[in-house]
C-alpha cells in the first residue's frame, strides 16, 4: 500500500494505580497500562504495530509485545534524555503515523521507581550515566557530591533564581498550587492532601538554598501508556480524538539533560526555547492560543523556566505570574491540573501528557473550560494537543 501523510491523534490513554509499592514486576505494570490504553481506545492490543519507550525503561519491547500478543510489530524505538524527552515519544509516534509507517503506536513507561530502586537517592550504580541516555556529564558531578537529580536540577536553577531574585519561598507557590490540584484528583498520591506555603517552608532542605522537599517530585511506582493512531482512524474509535497538532524536540549545542551547565546562559532553558520555536512555527499557534499547559515538574524552578521559554511569561517574570494565581484553574494559564509529578505521581512525565489528553477530551477532574489546545512540555520536547 502506498504511504501518504496522515494526521496523528491520541486515541487512548491508560495507567495503573500510582503507589509507592506496586508489588508486581515493571513488565506487568507495562502490560497493564498498555492494555488499559488499548481498551480506552477500543483497539485490540494484538494490532499494535509500533512501540516507543524511554532508553532507561527496564522492560523489553519483545517481552511486552509477547505479553500483549502483538501479532506483527513494524517499528520500535527508544528516546534518550529521560523525562526531559518524555514528549519526544509523542513526537516520534506522530512522525510514524504521519509517514504512514504504523497504524497503532504504543508509548509506554512503567517503573517501580520507589519500591525497586530510587531516583532520588545517591546512585548505587552508574549505568544510567553511560552513553545512550543523554546524561554523559553526570560523571563530572558525582565526585563532588552532586549525586541526585535534585542536586543537578538545583545547580541548573540557582543562577536563574539569583539573577531574578527568585527565592525558595517564591517556588512554594508552584508547589502549593499543584498540591491543590492533586487534592481533588482521586488518582493522585496526594489526593485530599493540600499544603500551605508554610508547610512548604517548613519542609526540609534538599538542596540549600534552592530546593526543599516540597519542591521535588515524588518517587512512584506505576505505568502510563498512550496509544497514537491516525486522526482518521481515531474518529471511528471509542474516545473523542485528541489531535497531535504538532510536536517537536530540541537539543541545542552544548545542552544536555539535567547536568546542563555548559551552554551559554544558565538563566534560560535553551532546549525548551528551541522546542517552543519549532512548535510555534510548526503549528502556527502561539502561547495565547493555549488554554492550559502540562509542564514537566521534576523540580519547581523548572516550571518557571519553561513558562518563560515557551513565551507565557517574560524572562524573570514567571514567579510573579504563579504567585498571582496565573496557573490556577481560573488563572491565565492553568498548569499541571492533575497535580503534576509533585502531586499526582512521577511516571517520568507520561502521566502529565495523559492529563493533557484529558483536558482536550473534557474529562479532567480539574477541567479547564473551553479547551481547544493544550501545551505538553517535558523541557527537551513538547507537543500541542488539540480538539479535532
Amino acid at each position: 500500500m502506498a504511504r501518504k501523510f496522515q494526521d496523528a491523534a491520541i486515541a487512548g490513554i491508560g495507567a495503573t494505580e500510582f503507589s509507592k509499592e506496586s508489588k508486581r514486576s515493571e513488565l506487568q505494570l507495562a502490560a497493564e497500562c498498555s492494555k488499559a490504553a488499548c481498551d480506552d481506545a477500543g483497539i485490540d492490543p494484538r494490532d499494535i504495530d509500533g512501540m516507543i519507550t524511554f532508553t532507561i525503561d527496564n522492560s523489553d519491547e519483545v517481552m511486552l509485545a509477547r505479553a500483549l500478543g502483538v501479532k506483527d510489530l513494524a517499528f520500535t524505538t527508544r528516546i534518550s534524555g529521560g523525562g526531559a524527552a518524555a514528549a519526544a515519544t509523542l513526537y516520534q509516534a506522530m512522525a510514524l503515523v504521519n509517514a504512514g509507517l504504523c497504524k497503532n503506536v504504543l508509548i509506554w513507561r512503567a517503573m517501580n521507581e520507589r519500591s525497586q530502586y530510587r531516583f532520588g537517592q545517591n546512585p548505587t550504580n552508574t549505568t544510567s550515566y553511560q552513553s545512550g541516555n543523554g546524561t554523559g556529564s553526570l560523571l563530572w558531578c558525582v565526585p563532588f557530591g552532586a549525586m541526585t537529580p535534585a542536586s543537578w536540577g538545583a545547580l541548573q536553577a540557582q543562577r536563574y533564581m539569583w539573577k531574578y531574585g527568585v527565592t525558595n519561598r517564591d517556588l512554594g507557590y508552584v508547589s502549593v498550587q499543584q498540591r491543590k490540584y492533586a487534592a481533588t484528583n482521586p488518582k493522585a498520591w496526594f489526593y485530599e492532601k493540600p499544603i500551605t506555603l508554610e508547610d512548604h517552608q517548613n519542609s526540609k532542605w534538599i538542596m540549600e538554598p534552592v530546593l526543599r522537599l516540597l519542591d521535588c517530585c515524588q518517587e512512584s511506582d506505576g505505568g502510563v501508556a498512550i496509544l497514537v493512531t491516525s486522526l482518521e482512524r481515531a474518529r471511528d474509535l471509542k474516545q473523542k480524538p485528541v489531535k497531535i497538532v504538532g510536536a517537536a524536540q530540541s537539543i541545542p549545542y552544548n545542552v544536555e539533560v539535567i547536568s546542563n551547565y555548559y551552554h551559554d546562559d544558565l538563566t534560560v532553558m535553551p532546549e525548551a526555547q528551541g522546542t517552543a520555536k519549532r512548535l510555534w512555527e510548526q503549528t502556527g499557534l502561539k502561547p495565547a492560543d493555549m488554554q492550559a499547559a502540562m509542564i514537566y515538574d521534576a523540580f519547581t524552578p523548572h516550571v518557571l523556566l519553561q513558562l518563560e521559554a515557551f513565551g507565557f511569561c517574560k524572562a524573570g517574570e514567571a514567579a510573579g505570574f504563579v504567585k498571582s494565581g496565573g496557573m490556577a484553574i481560573d488563572g491565565k494559564l492553568p498548569v499541571n491540573t492533575h497535580g503534576g509529578l509533585l502531586g499526582e505521581a512521577y511516571i517520568h512525565g507520561m502521566n502529565t501528557m495523559a492529563e493533557g489528553v484529558r483536558q482536550v477530551r473534557g474529562t479532567a477532574v480539574n477541567q479547564v473550560k473551553g479547551v481547544a489546545h493544550v501545551l505538553v512540555s517535558s523541557g527537551m520536547a513538547g507537543a500541542v494537543l488539540g480538539t479535532a
Partner: protein
C-alpha cells in the same frame, strides 16, 4: 619518645569515573595539575573533553595547563540525602573558568553564608578513595 598519633583519616570522597577521552584530565589531577583540552588547530577550549573540536573538526587535541582561576557561576549545598563520601555537606558549584569553560566542583573553606555568585576562586586538590585526587576550589587569595 614521641606520642603515637592516630593515622590521618582515609579519604572518603569517591574516585572519579574515568573515560578514555577524559583520562588526561584525571591523570593530571592525580599529579595536582588542572588540565584542559584545547584544539591544536583553532586554539579553542572545550569542556567536557571530546574527541573532536566542534569548531574546526580537528582531531588534534592539546592538553594544556589551565590557570586554575575562575568564579562561582552557580552553587548549592546538598542536605538530603547526604551525599556519599562527605563528612560535612559540601558546597557544590559550577565554576566559570577564566578560559571560558565551566567545570562542576566544590568550593572549600567557606560557610554557606559566605557563598556569593561570581565570587573569585582558585583551584586546589583533594584526595579521593583509591589514591586519586580531584580539583576543587577555594576563595581566591587577595
Amino acid at each position: 619518645m614521641t606520642t603515637p598519633t592516630a593515622p590521618p583519616a582515609k579519604p572518603t570522597r569517591i574516585a572519579p569515573i574515568v573515560t578514555l577521552d577524559a583520562k588526561f584530565f584525571w591523570d593530571g589531577a592525580d599529579r595536582e595539575e588542572f588540565l584542559g583540552q584545547k584544539c591544536g588547530d583553532c586554539g579553542k577550549f572545550v569542556f567536557p573533553p571530546r574527541p573532536m573540536c566542534p569548531f574546526c573538526h580537528s582531531l588534534n587535541r592539546q592538553v594544556v595547563k589551565l590557570s586554575g582561576y575562575g568564579t562561582v557561576h552557580a552553587w548549592c549545598v546538598p542536605r538530603h540525602p547526604p551525599p556519599f563520601g562527605f563528612r560535612e555537606a559540601p558546597v557544590v558549584a559550577v565554576i566559570q573558568l577564566d578560559e571560558g569553560i565551566r567545570f562542576v566542583s566544590n568550593v572549600i573553606g567557606v560557610t554557606i553564608d559566605e557563598m556569593k555568585n561570581d565570587m573569585p576562586v582558585e583551584v586546589t586538590f583533594e584526595p579521593t578513595m583509591n589514591n586519586h585526587k580531584v580539583p576543587v576550589f577555594r576563595p581566591r587569595a587577595k
